[in-house]
């Protein structure tokens, strides 16, 4: 692909060359089954375990807590369904609390267990107008039956950081039971130092392709020994927590992406934060532009705005004509821009949300690209505002 300006890292980040090279060895010829006992198997197992070490270090957990999965959605699903299934068999009632602004990977898994089991109830905690989880409301929802609380580290649409330490202390302060905490750290992983920011959380979900790794790679990382059922049992892999042969190439790719992010974290944050500032101030001059969650702390990569009176569909169409890849933040499997449940939870009207635009940057973006983007955006917005 040539002549594109790629600003949709939050949808999928460019695959890093180092990732592709590291995976190549495990994508042709004999690749042993890591569960086997001969030398090909041992070699494969070694690559998997080295990858596990790297992912563990990335999150700041023990290698034994890393469960390789086929992506962020599976990780979140395993966290929720796995914990709920184990809990509901040993307890009369099982309650799950998730925030209203979770990715559908979490929301749909929660809705599924709520639908399927009579003794499982899901409660939803709201956010304020800045898109930050309401800890007072969370406090009111926690009971002795709470089995799991899931709050994302960073919202994938707005880029707003969530108070994970507050979530942890709120949950722990009022109940003495074994409630487990989970965070979807998919949007946070390219930007935050996870050992610190997720230190208080028991389970962390990661996704490979949002950090420059391969699609179909991810991990659920357990910081402590959480009791959970495998969602796909069979074969006993990953200590019985996820059946199926571990994809060596995917694990290696994920680990390589983690290593690169970790090494470049400070530099990337500093540079992209400058671009974020520049973009935000340039956009603020465009007609009808409103910055979403102006007062919240965000990751540097995301700029989310709404344009009054305009439709995302049309903005995206004209930007696409100019080779600009951005998104309206939420899209359904049909590919159409959807009214966002995140913006709705923040109290933003449907009318305003219709004109939303998410620009998401990554380490690859340059200042020249940002300048080009600003020029094209101005042209498109002025044209549609005529």
């Amino acid at each position: 692909m040539t002549d594109i300006l790629y600003f949709d890292h939050a949808a999928s980040a460019p695959r890093r060359d180092e990732v592709v090279e590291a995976m190549a060895r495990w994508q042709h010829g004999v690749v042993g089954n890591p569960s086997g006992s001969h030398r090909a198997a041992r070699e494969a197992r070694r690559a998997v375990e080295e990858a596990r070490d790297e992912v563990a270090q990335f999150v700041g957990a023990k290698p034994g807590g890393v469960i390789f999965t086929a992506g962020g959605t599976e990780s979140c699903h395993l966290a929720i369904a796995g914990v709920v299934n184990r809990h509901r068999r040993a307890h009369e009632r099982t309650e799950v609390i998730v925030s209203k602004i979770e990715h559908h990977a979490v929301l749909d898994a929660a809705a599924m267990v709520d639908r399927d089991y009579d003794n499982v109830t899901v409660k939803y905690v709201g956010v304020d107008s800045e898109g930050i989880v309401d800890l007072e409301e969370l406090e009111s929802l926690v009971t002795e039956h709470t089995a799991l609380v899931s709050v994302m580290s960073v919202n994938n649409e707005t880029g707003v950081r969530q108070p994970l330490d507050g979530v942890n202390s709120t949950v722990r302060q009022f109940i003495a039971n074994e409630a487990v905490t989970h965070t979807d750290a998919v949007a946070a992983a390219p930007w935050l130092h996870l050992p610190m920011t997720t230190a208080a959380i028991d389970m962390i979900s990661l996704c490979g392709h949002k950090i420059g790794g391969p699609v179909n790679s991810g991990a659920l990382v357990l910081r402590k020994d959480v009791a959970l059922d495998a969602v796909t049992p069979g074969g006993g892999q990953e200590r019985g927590r996820r059946g199926g042969t571990v994809d060596v190439a995917a694990a290696v790719g994920l680990a390589t992406a983690c290593r690169l992010i970790r090494a470049e974290l400070a530099d990337t944050n500093e540079r992209i934060a400058d671009y974020q500032q520049k973009l935000q101030s340039a956009l603020s001059f465009l007609p009808g532009c409103r910055l979403t969650a102006p007062g919240a702390v965000k990751i540097p990569g995301t700029v989310h705005v709404t344009f009054e009176g305009l439709a995302s569909d049309e903005i995206l169409f004209l930007l696409d004509q100019e080779g600009v890849c951005v998104s309206a933040a939420a899209s359904c499997s049909s590919g159409a821009a959807e009214p966002s449940h995140v913006l709705a939870a923040m109290g933003i009207s449907n009318e305003q949300a219709r004109g939303s635009l998410r620009i998401s940057m990554g380490a690859e973006n340059t200042e020249a690209e940002v300048d080009q983007l600003i020029g094209i955006l101005a042209k498109v917005i002025y044209r549609l505002s005529e």
């Binding site: 439709a311 569909d313 049309e314 995206l316 169409f317 004209l318 696409d320 359904c332 499997s333 049909s334 590919g335 159409a336 821009a337 959807e338 009214p339 449907n350 549609l384």
Partner: protein, 347 residues
Amino acid sequence: MSGGVDSSVAAGLLIEQGHEVVGATLKLWGGVSDSGCCSVADVDDARRVAQMLGIDHHVFNYTEEFERHVVAPFVAGHAAGTSPNPCIECNRHIKFDLLFERAARLGFDAVATGHHAQVLERDGQHYLVRGADDQKDQSYVLGYLAEDQLATLLLPIGHMNKSEVRVHAERLGLRTWDKPDSQDVCFIEASKGREVFLRSRIKVTPAKIVDRATGEVVGETSAAELMTVGQRRGVLPGRDGEKRFVAKVDLAAQTVEVGRLEDVLISTIALDDVSLTFAHETLGEGTEVLAQWSAHGIPKKATLHAEPHWHLKLAEQARPVAVGQTVVFYRLNEPEIVEGAALVAAQ
């Protein structure tokens, strides 16, 4: 583009004619439909066709507008005892209103669809004309289009028979896209039907079925909203063995009156003034037209009158027409040409 053969061939032909073409699929219904949640399967088909034709494809989300302009009025209409045609409302408000506006804003010169109808240009005026394929003609559902819309509308397959369209599909390498024509209302699941859908939105009215000829109660219905004036299907013959037709649906009284054909025939159709759309200025008091009030109905000779309210005087008596249906007027001496359209009003 729906992924069906008509819109696919329409796009393919325009590309061959040298136009710069972009495919668009409208996401209209957010709920469950026969093609899966939010019609994902249809969108996938359309996207695949666009890929095969080598053109860009975009999905435009009009679910809110569809709910507002099509589904809500459909439900409200039934609740009020009328029978609106959702496909016509969708064409009018979504496809040929919002999409046309959007296309102009985005810099397009024309909008094309795979409808079986044609646009004729004569002396600087544009006329909507029936499609060449009698069986497939869709001019009825496009009857509300006005001159300015017709001027920027392309209907690349309107002059073809369906079999010719399929030949083109095969030639263009689109022969796998032989989806059956869609017949039903897209937001109603065929397996569940209108009643299930309406019950999910409104409280339906059980009613007694009364025979006008004898005054007897001859049956009952669980949902009077589903009975359409003029309908015979599902209505039992009378004691005399003659067919019965729905003559009147009275939700307040919870009765549906049925009658023999001669008891229910009408000779005028009241029109809703506000909805009356003239494609041209050739319609007026006393104009003789051919009026058609269902998608594949037989056009009937009638005269248009403006006083006291717009109405049609039929040359011959006809089965009653439900309030909320659309009547399309075709030119008497050139019966292929659409002159205008209007909604049927209460008498």
